[in-house]
Amino acid sequence: MTTPIRQHLIDPEICIRCNTCEETCPINAVTHNEDNYVVDPAICNACLDCISPCPTGAIDNWRIVSTPYSLEEQFEWDELPEEDENLTLEETAPGAVEEALEDEVSRLLAEAHAGLGGKSKPPASASTPYVNLYTRGEPAVAKVAGNFRLTDGTTDSDIRHIVLDFGSHSFPVLEGQSIGIVPPGVDAKGRPHHVRLYSVASPRDGERPNHNNLSLTVKRDVAVVEGVRHEGVASSYLCDLKKGDEVKVTGPFGTSFLMPNDPEANIIMVCTGTGSAPFRAMTERRRRRRETRGTLLLFFGARTPGELPYFGPLMKLPDRLIRKELCFSRLDDQPKEYVQDRMRKKGDGVAALLGEQKTHLYVCGLKGMESGVTEALESLCREAGLDWKSLAERMRDEGRYHVETY
């Protein structure tokens, strides 16, 4: 059997034959007859140039097929064929093509989503994201508009809020998406550095609305090995950036860890440290739109309040926007408390939300938190008479359960 591929198609029911895609395609992969505009599977390289100029959205259709539909077949269509749900792209990394169209990044995202235990899907009401607009070969150049330390000067945890300005280049992102940063220079073996992914911490309209910027939450990665202090290449590069510095950026990446646009949706967010970045974006999105119908519930863990990024601004958010469960593992006068402990404590409320069809659950942070959180979910579900394992699968398949850990 041939390897299934992801074929680019145009929805003939929505297309108005305006010729914009044919005009835009840099390699002449789009053609037409009297009825339909079609994409030649032998030519199209999924560069996505045609997606944004399409006035109808007809252009943004993809089918996993074992044999690509020929031009002749496409010319005859009155509507798109049903997708064969038995076909998947498992031969490549799970979700690879959808998430990033770039192998190196796809691998990173596949690893990050591995905790989900199956193919990740976006929420039904999520917007369609742009991916891979900028690549290693052709990165976007952003200017640093600000770099602020979020954590207390007294702690050794250096977490930064970095604002990147894209000037006149469009860099559209959705909450939950990541961008790639390639540190300049080469590694010890003389090879270019690997790309690193960072979740965007600002909502889709930007850190400062409509100024074409975005923010990141970056922790300086420090390891002390045999008394010698080592710093992570990319995180130090980012943390040391000055206002006005230029940064090469790839992406955006990620098509599943996205927020539901449905204002009624409940969102449970579980994170530690810089895993809070996508949740800051989602919360800010709802705050700006004054959407308080769906519940936002945040479980956020850090060692101390001084090390919890955005602690101050977070405390100011009203409870009717977001319920905050902040827990700390290094407070002098209190026993250690991790996110999973707090989730257990609030088990009834969590289980009640999980029982609702409009609830979405997101987990983001270090790989180490996964098992604890899963155990907490299992036990709090059990107590409420729910089976977490089957619920998790169902929520995942419905695009309502998302894990991104690293």
Partner: protein, 481 residues
């Protein structure tokens, strides 16, 4: 890459290095207040304070030329954007074919080119004026947003033409640019230049018909100008075409949604006969025969915009390399048309027949034929909607001689089927083919505004997908107060 990025630092966003040309920048900045005055007095009536979810061109690069966000229309950033220059582009047709494309206006063609720009430019503000009262009867916030998107982009297209006039035509150009703000659609003393742009757009059905049929003429004209040997005009119009596509989308999908709703309502009520007009109208939807009559009207008015079938002006503009044919570079001939002929339909000796005319002078006829083929596409789609619903009806385009005021068929009493009657017989049957006062009054009676997010007037179906992939109840326009 620099020529692709838009400079938003300037008052007027542009990718033409405006700040490097002080004289031009001053001329445009001088024109700008008049433009804003025009927009405030002649633009959408009653919605200047609303936040509208609009796309703004931030770059002509395909990967990011449109950004969506809430904007108050008077604060929309109308910019000057040219498609990227093609390295070593040559003039693709006419007597200068093969010579390097002009970056300045050739002296001998100055007047002709200025006229082309003024006629094209005049249509842009005209349509905004024609549509200024529609907002008050919007069938949904989705449609309201689409109307405003069309309006602001027509505004930007005016800017595009004004840029060319001011940059390349000195004092004459500045005066013409003022003139574009002075004429008014439908004004008896200072009308817009082309007839169809002085007709009112009184209701949403007319708006959808206009964007489908008449904006499509705009597309054909822009396509022909995009071939121009005058490179700045070619680059300007190429970028305008990407925006024009949205206008055609609004028209084609708008009619399609009306057709869908009518068929659904008929099925629900168990009405099989699409010509059983009264019970269908009683359902609060627009009967298919009325839609056909509206289409007949708009199609005929639009055909008039192509001018006389045989025209020396068109021949001169082609010969000069200023205005080509539809998709000129895809046509397989010598692109000079010396000695070629083109079949043009005539009514002679009591019958229609084709006459071979010199291809050069028959360019208007050819563009009109291209238009006819292009316009037929949407009808095919609408007919599929009807077919799918199981209703026995099909739309068709009327004969080119039907109800014409310009060209060879002017005042010929031809029916939509191409039968030529006596004037008296034609007049008697007029209401079979063109909307009657009664039809228009009925359509008008349906025009009640729906301003709830996610709500749609009962005569039109919801769209299949939202703009920018937004959900169904998205608040495309935030109304004030």
């Amino acid at each position: 890459m620099d020529s692709i990025a838009v400079s938003y630092d300037d008052l007027i966003p542009n990718n033409v290095n405006l700040s490097g040309d002080r004289r031009l920048q001053r001329a445009l900045e001088g024109w700008h207040p008049g433009y804003i005055d025009w927009w405030n007095s002649m633009g959408p009536d009653g919605f200047q304070e609303a936040d509208v979810y609009l796309r703004t061109a931030v770059s002509v690069d395909p990967k990011g030329w449109a950004k969506f966000g809430y904007v108050k229309m008077p604060e929309y950033r109308w910019g000057i954007l040219l498609a990227p220059a093609e390295e070593g582009r040559t003039i693709p047709f006419g007597q200068h074919k093969g010579e390097p494309a002009w970056q300045e206006v050739p002296g001998e063609y100055r007047a002709m080119l200025r006229r082309l720009l003024v006629v094209q430019g005049d249509t842009e503000p005209a349509s905004v004026e024609q549509q200024r009262h529609l907002g008050k009867t919007c069938p949904s916030l989705y449609d309201l947003r689409n109307l405003f998107q069309v309006n602001v982009e027509e505004g930007r297209h005016l800017w595009a033409m004004v840029y060319l006039l001011q940059k390349y035509f000195g004092r004459d150009g500045r005066e013409e640019a003022e003139g574009l703000l002075t004429r008014r659609s439908g004004d008896a003393d200072r009308p817009r230049i082309l007839g169809a742009f002085n007709e009112a757009t009184p209701d949403w059905l007319s708006f959808f018909m206009f964007t489908y049929f008449t904006d499509r003429d705009g597309k054909m004209q822009l396509e022909a100008l995009a071939q121009s040997g005058f490179d700045p005009l070619s680059r300007t119009t190429r970028f305008m075409l990407t925006e024009e596509a949205h206008h055609m989308f609004v028209g084609e999908s708008g009619i399609s949604r009306i057709v869908q709703r009518t068929c659904e309502a008929m099925k629900e009520a168990g009405i099989e006969d699409p010509t059983d007009v009264d019970p269908i109208r009683a359902l609060g939807v627009i009967d298919l025969p009325t839609l056909q009559r509206k289409a007949n009207f708009h199609y005929a008015v639009t055909l008039d915009l192509f001018g006389a079938e045989v025209s020396t002006n068109a021949a001169n503009a082609f010969n000069a390399g200023l205005k080509g044919r539809f998709q000129e570079t895809k046509i397989d001939d010598d692109h000079q048309l010396t000695g070629d002929t083109y079949p043009v339909l005539r009514f002679e000796g009591g019958a229609f027949k084709t006459v071979e005319e010199p291809a050069l002078s028959a360019l208007n006829a050819r563009l009109r034929d291209d238009y006819e083929r292009d316009a037929a596409g949407g009808l095919k789609r609408w007919n599929k909607v009807i077919q799918k619903a199981g209703v026995d009806f099909a739309f068709s385009l009327p004969h080119v001689a039907f109800n014409r005021q310009v060209g060879a068929f002017r005042d010929l009493p031809a029916t939509p089927d191409g039968e030529v009657l006596s004037r008296e017989a034609w007049d008697k049957r007029r209401d079979e083919w063109l909307p009657s006062d009664d039809d228009l009054a009925f359509v008008n009676s349906l025009m009640e505004p729906v301003q709830e997010p996610g709500g749609y007037a009962p005569w039109i179906a919801a769209p299949k997908v939202g703009i920018d992939n937004q959900p169904g109840d998205f608040e495309y326009v935030r109304l004030k107060g």
